[in-house]
């Protein structure tokens, strides 16, 4: 395809992807409490508001805590499973791989509703920790897929050498496997973290009435009163995601990670 056509097409796609974010960024620097674009006046106070207004700060804290813990739990579930599937020949264990991928493949409202009925029946409905478990299960797919990919890329002769030299299972794992798999643990954690930060429906259905995460807070603000803080939070979220994925790309092989993701994940 000709290069002018290509440039034009890429420009249009970039515009399509960026336009809503540009408008939101414009709205976020309004001086007064209006959602006007082009912005009227200039002020960064709506960014300060995220940290100074107790409601927004609490929502931010809740979201970050939830994302940190649930991503860690997701990795804790995915790591032993991916290791086992790599180390052992046990075809029936693949059912757990399938279960790990299912919540992310089905429409999210289904996982959300399943967890809602479950927590309500078990009598824990509304407890903050249920959101951590729910998100960990919902996002376990991401570390599971990156880790499965990471394990397949390990040269088995390295592990063989270590074990011939007398290293036991534990030593091999700590000194050979873990260092090799670490970049995949980090990227799996990063994917789960960013998505948990942005997740709405599962959080809303499990703890929506007792706790406000940032997406829930934005949704409530959409219904009960617009404020430019919604726009500044959006800009903060987009930049956080860009920085984290940028780091994953900087220290890992992003095209490879994504090249295998869909083929392994589905």
């Amino acid at each position: 395809m000709t290069s002018i056509f290509r440039k034009f097409y890429f420009f249009l796609i970039a515009l399509f992807l960026a336009l809503p974010l540009i408008v939101v960024a414009g709205v976020s620097i309004n001086q007064k409490q209006t959602l006007a674009f082009p912005p009227q006046g200039f002020s960064t106070s709506w960014y300060g508001e995220i940290f100074l207004n107790p409601e927004w700060r609490n929502a931010l804290m809740a979201s970050v805590t939830l994302a940190v813990l649930s991503a860690a739990l997701a990795v804790a579930i995915a790591l032993p499973l991916a290791w086992f599937l790599w180390r052992r020949i046990a075809p029936w264990a693949n059912i757990f791989q399938l279960l790990g991928v299912a919540p992310f493949t089905l429409p999210p409202v289904i996982t959300a509703l399943g967890l809602l009925t479950f927590w309500a029946t078990a009598g824990f409905y509304g407890q903050p920790w249920t959101a951590v478990v729910s998100h960990a299960i919902f996002f376990v797919t991401l570390p599971l897929v990156t880790l499965s990919l990471g394990f397949t890329s390990i040269d088995r002769s390295l592990v063989e050498a270590a074990s011939t030299m007398g290293a036991d299972e534990r030593t091999v794992f700590r000194t050979v496997v873990l260092p090799l798999i670490l970049p995949y643990i980090v990227s799996g954690y990063a994917f789960a973290f960013v998505l948990s930060l942005n997740e709405y429906i599962v959080a809303y259905m499990t703890v929506g009435f007792t706790m406000e995460t940032l997406p829930i807070k934005i949704f409530n603000a959409l219904r009960y009163g617009y404020t430019p803080t919604m726009a500044s939070v959006t800009v903060l979220f987009v930049s956080t995601a860009a920085v984290i994925f940028g780091l994953v790309a900087r220290f890992g092989d992003l095209p490879k990670l994504l090249g295998a993701m869909s083929s392994d994940g589905k």
Binding site: M1, T2, Y9, F10, I13, L17, L19, P20, L21, V23, V24, G26, A36, F37, I77, A78, P80, W83, F84, W86, R87, R88, F96, L99, G100, A102, L106, P107, P108, I110, T111, L115, T117, F118, S134, A136, I137, R156, S163, L197, N198, Y200, I201, M205, P215, I218, F219, L222, M230, T234, F237, V238, A242, F245, A249, L254, P255, L258, S262, K266
Partner: protein, 284 residues
């Protein structure tokens, strides 16, 4: 260390935690949901264990039929728009320098990870009267006065395409990376224009990938639960929105659960159908 079957019970130990977590917090909730779909609803948002088909019986109404029809139509429209837009884009992206690819992939991932709340908010701002795109057109002198473009069907469709576009690119990306570049080179050497080479060589070579991608984007679009609510009118609500609405605002868990079970069945059924169709196509 070779792969070997587990020898002792101890060898299964690493499987214990993941298996328990996935069973307790995914399989059991899924089962709970199916069970609740047969329960009897009580006044005031409670429900009692029972085995009734009332919740499924409600599907037979004209209202439900129109919601289902609209959801499927919407998801098909989104899938087609996304694949049409993303296929040439992804194809050209895979032929670019690695560093350019990485920048685009980071951007696409960042948009993909955005909450539906945020996408809905961003597009409703862009389509609003006070801060919308029409203000830019007014400033350029192309329009008399600013107006709101939402709620409307076009707004919902745009929002959903925006949400699903990065996903489509990332699904297509691996297949297109692996596409043999000599295929197009051969076509070009034999005198085909780049456009002709794309449509007569690349597209047919990727037929199965395109069908698979259409299905995956279709399922992805079926899951959209907020955009129709934020950017559309009640007649633009999809099944996912209706499920959320019944579960949260109408407190009718059994009916919501029945619809969710139905959505799973529709999803799985369509996938199975297309897989069978795909096999037949290959055999022919």
């Amino acid at each position: 260390m070779r792969r070997e079957p587990p020898q002792t019970v101890g060898d299964y130990a690493p499987l214990l935690f993941p298996a328990a977590m996935l069973t307790i917090f995914f399989v059991v909730p899924f089962g709970t949901m199916i069970a609740v779909s047969f329960f009897q609803r009580q006044q005031g948002g409670f429900y009692t264990p029972a085995f009734v088909f009332d919740n499924y019986g409600r599907f037979l109404s004209a209202f439900f039929g129109s919601v289902l029809g609209f959801s499927l139509m919407m998801a098909v429209a989104v899938a087609i728009c996304c694949v049409v837009l993303a296929l040439p884009f992804t194809y050209m992206l895979t032929r670019m320098a690695r560093s350019v690819q990485v920048v685009w992939l980071v951007a696409l991932l960042s948009v993909l990870s955005l909450s539906e709340v945020i996408i809905g908010f961003a597009w409703s701002t862009l389509f609003s009267r006070t801060a919308g795109i029409t203000n830019i057109l007014v400033a350029l002198g192309l329009m008399g006065e600013a107006k709101a473009l939402t709620p409307s069907f076009a707004a919902v469709l745009t929002g959903m395409v925006y949400q699903a576009f990065p996903y489509t690119v990332l699904v297509l990306f691996p297949a297109l990376v692996r596409l043999d570049p000599t295929l197009t080179e051969a076509a070009r050497t034999l005198g085909a224009s780049p456009l002709k080479a794309f449509f007569t060589v690349v597209v047919p070579a990727l037929r199965n990938t395109i069908v698979a991608t259409l299905i995956m984007v279709f399922i992805f679009a079926l899951g959209s639960y907020l955009l129709p609510q934020l950017l559309g009118r009640p007649q633009h609500w999809t099944l996912s929105v209706l499920i959320t609405d019944q579960a949260i605002y109408q407190s009718n868990m059994p009916f919501a659960a029945a619809m969710a079970v139905f959505l799973v069945l529709v999803t799985l059924g369509l996938v199975a159908l297309t897989v069978i169709a795909g096999r037949k196509g290959e055999a022919a």
